[in-house]
Amino acid sequence: MSIFVDETTKVVYQGLTGSQGRYYGLLNRDYGTNVVAGTNPRKAGTDVDGVPVFATVGDAVEATGATASCIFIPAPGVHDAVIEAAEGGVEFIVAVTEGVPAHDEARFYNRLKRDFPGVRLLGPNCPGIISPGRCNIGITAGHIALPGGPVGIVSRSGTLTYQALYELKEKGIGCTTCVGIGGDPVPGTSFIDCLEAFEADPETKAVMMIGEIGGTAEEEAAAFIRDHVTKPVSAYVAGVTAPPGKKMGHAGAIVSGGKGTADAKMEALSEAGVRVGLNPTEAGELMAEIVATL
């Protein structure tokens, strides 16, 4: 099993006709993902390397039975693209685009919660989701992930997600699903959403978590792990040495008002029984130790 996606997931790419959308959409198809459609209101009726293009997500869903969408629309259009996907009838939306204004994110997050409670949004500003061997939606390089489990991965950062997959692959450890939740202030899917799903997934036996400075998502995840997660967890939090008041690349990665420090996050996670590594390699080694005892 995997979480959120599997081999039956059918994906429509919003922005398939753009350079990024085309590149990653076709790469995802090559990996084995059911890439069933693209959208572009001005290019409906055409195709991208055999993938039919529709005017809207609603049209694509009607014609192809798409169940998920992946957004490669430039930042100014992401708000409307998310709402269009939800109205169009998909149940899972992956927004890869970075640079979306925080107010837009807050607006569509709350709109989905109220009017489309069955729809899950991943991102924006995230690498996407991969269930190795089954489905890859987004920009993760598929071959760095080993299929089969038993580890589930959830991460706030793109390249560190790859690093985590790679550390595990080097040790011969597979992954059930790897979810990149993204580094923005209002992520559609949180650590807690993923931890809850991994806890319920019988194939996932342990969870690796990659956090970073800023906000309190890691602290909230720690409290959730303490109370609700029985499976072992290893973690790494990036930005131990980040100076306060400076955004470290991601819009959400900033230590301000003495809050959001890596130390506080690592302490909260340790107290919840999570094995915390000081760098990605160490977190991978801790996970190898955990897997050896399963």
Binding site: A75, P101, A102, H143, R156, L160, K246, G249
Partner: protein, 386 residues
């Protein structure tokens, strides 16, 4: 993007909030001329992107034009927590009866907007939150619903503002929320919001942080981008479109991806060194981007060694290796370089780099090993303890 106080006040004034008349000045003569137009007494206020101005002597009351001349002369050039004052705001002095606090920001946990209002203004809100949390009235606003006047009235009442301030505060808070949403702000803060002796509610200080991601719908924000506080290195990186944060150490860091860059800085510190910077070159990592990154690092005199940490995902290791080789041809690098290359096509990339290796261009198999070598090289050339 952080706004200076005066920019924040002008931003607020654009939404109809009452601010005392004032003018910005870059020289003593300009300050004097402004004060003559405004009429004394005035306040002379340092404009810096940091707190603690008052304690540092950056805010002074000037009863006369001579006072304006003296205070402005002292304040211009003053160093406030590393920020050198380059401009002052000259403002008509207000007769303050009471000081309040008001702000809106995004509550990332609740995923809603958070409004905070307190009768304990004029001091750091963090201090109030710690010592007397009940003195802060909070409301959470669903961005889909927006903020109704009736809600604002209840909020003002629960904060315990006196009758005389209610109408003025309700009006300002409605406008403050409008400015916050319409202007795509990360933070709008009025501290203090004042009630004057003659019963008017006014904005006496303004702290505004705007979302840099929203510039596409706010063309005028480019003027604020130009007044951001950046050191020379950050300015150089910014002009090349690189994500760069200057730090105090001696190991220059280049990595692809914000998380990996942050992690690289961490690892350098963990093995006993200190990073000179955070630099994320993003996904591309082609020769142009790599050359630009190396130029920025090369121009930092504190850099004693360079650690290039690349994880190929979609980006292929051989492309990155070619990019590095080409960049090294273009830029004359002074500090020795340690490269760690992993991920997609890393083997092919390593083969390409192999033929260029020397004392000053090394390769290491892991992130930790590369960090150790980069730190050793920095120490060997006298960069220890930076």
């Amino acid at each position: 993007m952080d706004l200076f106080e005066y920019q924040g006040k002008q931003f607020f004034a654009g939404y109809g909030m009452p601010i005392p008349p004032g003018e910005v000045a870059f020289t003593v003569d300009e300050a004097v001329a402004a004060a003559e137009r405004l009429g004394t007494p005035v306040m002379v206020k340092a404009q810096v992107h940091t707190g603690g101005r008052g304690k540092a002597g950056g805010v002074k009351f000037a009863a006369t034009i001579d006072d304006v001349r003296e205070h402005t002369g002292n304040i211009l050039g003053l160093d406030i927590s590393g920020h050198v004052v380059g401009r002052v705001w000259i403002e008509q002095a207000s007769d303050i009866a009471e000081e309040y606090y008001a702000s809106f920001t995004l509550d990332r946990s609740a995923k809603k907007h958070l409004g905070m209002l307190s009768v304990e203004g004029g001091v750091e809100i963090e201090a109030v939150a710690e010592e007397n949390p009940d003195a802060i009235a909070k409301i959470w606003v669903d961005p889909v619903d927006g903020l109704e006047e009736a809600t604002i009235r209840d909020w003002v009442a629960s904060a315990g503002l006196p009758e005389a301030a209610v109408e003025g505060a309700v009006d300002i808070l409605g406008r403050l929320y409008e400015a916050y949403v319409d202007g795509d702000a990360d933070l709008v803060e009025i501290n203090p919001l004042i009630l004057t002796e003659d019963g008017r509610v006014q904005v006496l200080d303004a702290k505004v942080t705007l979302d840099g991601n929203s510039v596409f719908r706010h063309g005028s924000y480019t003027e604020f981008d130009e007044t951001q506080t950046r050191d020379e290195r950050e300015t150089a990186a910014h002009s090349r479109g690189l994500q760069y944060v200057g730090l105090d150490g001696s190991v220059g860091v280049i990595a692809n991806g914000a998380g990996l860059a942050m992690s690289t800085v961490d690892v350098v510190n963990q093995v006993g060194g200190s990073a000179a910077n955070f630099l994320d070159i993003g996904g591309g990592a082609n020769a142009d981007v790599m050359a630009g990154a190396l130029e920025v690092i090369n121009n930092d005199p504190a850099v004693r060694s360079i650690f290039i940490n690349i994880f190929g995902g979609i980006t292929r290791g051989d492309e990155v290796a070619n990019g590095i080789v080409e960049a090294l041809d273009r830029v004359d690098i002074e500090a020795p370089i340690v490269i760690r290359l992993d991920g997609t096509n890393a083997d092919e990339g390593r083969v390409i780099l192999e033929t260029h290796l020397s004392e000053s261009l090394q390769m290491a198999p892991t992130m930790l090993e590369a960090a150790r070598r980069a730190v050793a090289l920095a120490d060997a050339s006298g960069g220890a303890g930076a």
